[in-house]
């Protein structure tokens, strides 16, 4: 029995040696991230809850992203409108411009662009902050001070990122649509009431709700990746830089992956 077990272990070891290093790293990181995510749920559901730190993180995460998200959304809405206008004009459906732009923003561009900005701004910030706290022993100091650092630092940030991104996306959608209204009025004239009528005539629940659901997953991905890379960072200040960088790259990739899966699901459910 023992001989058979050691034979299996030996063949597993041989197999492991044959797996390319990058694949092994990918598998290890994926496993680490999955375990880390599981810990967020188990720790997050147990009291005591760090309510004041969670509210502080909500304020910081939401407030810090607001100027960048707002500016980008405004420009995005305006540019999209200006660029789409000639094409719609050539088909004689210029009047559909408000709805087409709004639909594109609400369904896809708003959530994805805001998610990517959020990953760049908040994901890297969380990765760098926790990474720096890790290498300067602040996380250990927190533990010595009678605090569960995972609950205080990780659970609060992941939850705040998960809840703040949908709110930011709603805000960015509204700002982008305002940008679109201004874009329309640069080369033509349309009243605000006509503009909103054109949008809400066609826009319904299935245009707004499914994209909003996926933004919770975007927010969770940004929060969990930033925290994971920061909390587990090593190798001093170089490690902090790597954590910040990897947080953005991995979270951005996850946003696209979740987006792809979300589109397939909404298609299957007949929401597209």
């Amino acid at each position: 029995m023992v001989g058979k077990a050691s034979e299996i272990i030996s063949s597993l070891q041989t197999l492991t040696l044959k797996i390319p290093k990058q694949t092994m790293t990918f598998l290890q990181e994926s496993g680490g991230l999955a375990r880390f995510s599981g810990r967020v749920f188990t720790e997050g559901l147990r009291p005591p809850f760090e309510l004041s730190e969670f509210l502080r993180q909500c304020y910081l995460i939401g407030n810090k992203s607001l100027p960048l998200v707002g500016t980008t959304a405004f420009i995005m809405g305006m540019v999209l409108t200006i660029q789409l206008r000639p094409a719609l004009l050539s088909y004689g459906v210029e009047s559909e411009l408000p709805y087409i732009v709004a639909d594109a923003i609400i369904r896809e561009i708003g959530p994805v662009i805001t998610g990517l900005i959020f990953a760049g701004k908040i994901g890297s910030g969380i990765g760098a902050e926790l990474g720096s706290m890790n290498v300067t022993e602040q996380i250990d100091a927190m533990e010595v001070s009678g605090t569960n650092p995972f609950r205080y630092l990780v659970v609060t940030r992941v939850l705040a990122a998960t809840l703040m991104l949908p709110l930011l996306v709603l805000l960015s959608d509204a700002i982008a649509i305002t940008g679109s209204f201004i874009g329309i009025n640069i080369k033509g004239v349309m009243s605000f009431s006509l503009f909103t009528d054109e949008i809400f005539q066609f826009l319904d629940f299935t245009d707004v709700f499914p994209p909003l659901i996926k933004t919770f997953f975007f927010g969770f991905s940004v929060g969990i990746v930033g925290c994971y890379k920061g909390y587990t960072s090593s190798r001093g200040t170089e490690g902090v830089g790597r954590s910040a960088n990897a947080s953005v790259v991995i979270a951005s990739m996850l946003i696209f992956l979740i987006d792809l899966i979300a589109v397939q699901i909404t298609d299957l459910l007949g929401f597209n």
Partner: protein, 252 residues
């Protein structure tokens, strides 16, 4: 001169370590290490960089779990403690980190309030304010209360970290290289402060250091940590006269 390999015994040691072993992968850091710390004693653990000194005090405070052995702190076995028990123990044992570990995003006041609020949640704001000011006054930096750690010099940061360690009035203080990275004058000031604190609060201390001026100033007894074991123990005067080839380079 009396230099022995035996661990001094005391009626009521506040820390008692037996057969402590810990390895990271194939690298054995501590290998059957033994020590005791008597009540009120200031003990320096001396050894080369990477010899496991910091690992030792992280095991004592429960930040690292040893592979084998027993660590008794204030008569309780650390290796068997759950989180609430560890928290209770940590309220009685202060830890001064090598890097100070002040929270960058908090003011000095918030840094000092943090352990108080966490360990003694029933305190009123007035009591917290009084304790913060008392701790800061003890380290001579009452005027820095509303500054951020980034606005302080290296020596001031070390003093603030010491104030944060002191604020819970611990019975034992673990110092992880308290003078590393400081100029000789500041280093001397920190060493004097450590002695002052030990006298004033009657604390017991384990000091990890290889700054020999600090060791001479603060130690009542020294343990030489070599190859993961307690190689020799004795006072500074005793060890400085040692002809042991491993010990001699530290005192030359």
């Amino acid at each position: 001169m009396k230099i022995d390999k035996d661990i001094p015994t005391d009626d009521a040691p506040v820390i008692r370590i037996r057969d402590l072993s810990i390895a990271f992968g194939s690298h054995v850091v501590l290998d059957g290490f033994e020590m005791t710390l008597a009540k009120g004693e200031d003990l320096v653990v001396l050894g080369k960089s990477g010899s496991g000194k910091s690992v030792l005090i992280k095991c004592i405070i429960g930040l690292l779990t040893p592979d084998r052995g027993s660590i008794q702190v204030l008569n309780d076995e650390v290796t068997e403690m759950d989180h609430p028990a560890l928290d209770q123990m940590r309220a009685r044992v202060g830890f001064l980190f090598q890097s100070n570990a002040l929270y960058d995003s908090m003011t000095v006041r918030e840094n000092l309030e943090f352990p108080l609020r966490r360990h003694w949640i029933q305190l009123s704001q007035g009591e917290v304010d009084d304790m913060v000011m008392e701790a800061l006054t003890n380290v001579g930096l009452a005027e820095t209360v509303d500054l951020m750690p980034s606005e302080l010099s290296g020596g001031m940061r070390k003093r603030i970290a010491l104030a944060r360690t002191l604020i819970l009035k611990p019975e034992i203080i673990l110092y992880d290289e308290p003078t590393t990275g400081l100029d000789p004058i500041t280093s001397r000031g920190i060493s004097d402060l450590m002695v002052e604190i030990a006298d004033k609060y009657k604390t017991s201390s384990v000091i990890i250091s290889h700054d020999m001026r600090c060791v001479e100033r603060t130690s009542e007894r020294i343990i030489m940590l070599i190859d993961g074991k307690c190689h020799l123990t004795g006072s500074y005067a005793e060890l400085s006269r040692s002809k042991d080839p491993v010990v001699m380079p530290f005192f030359q």
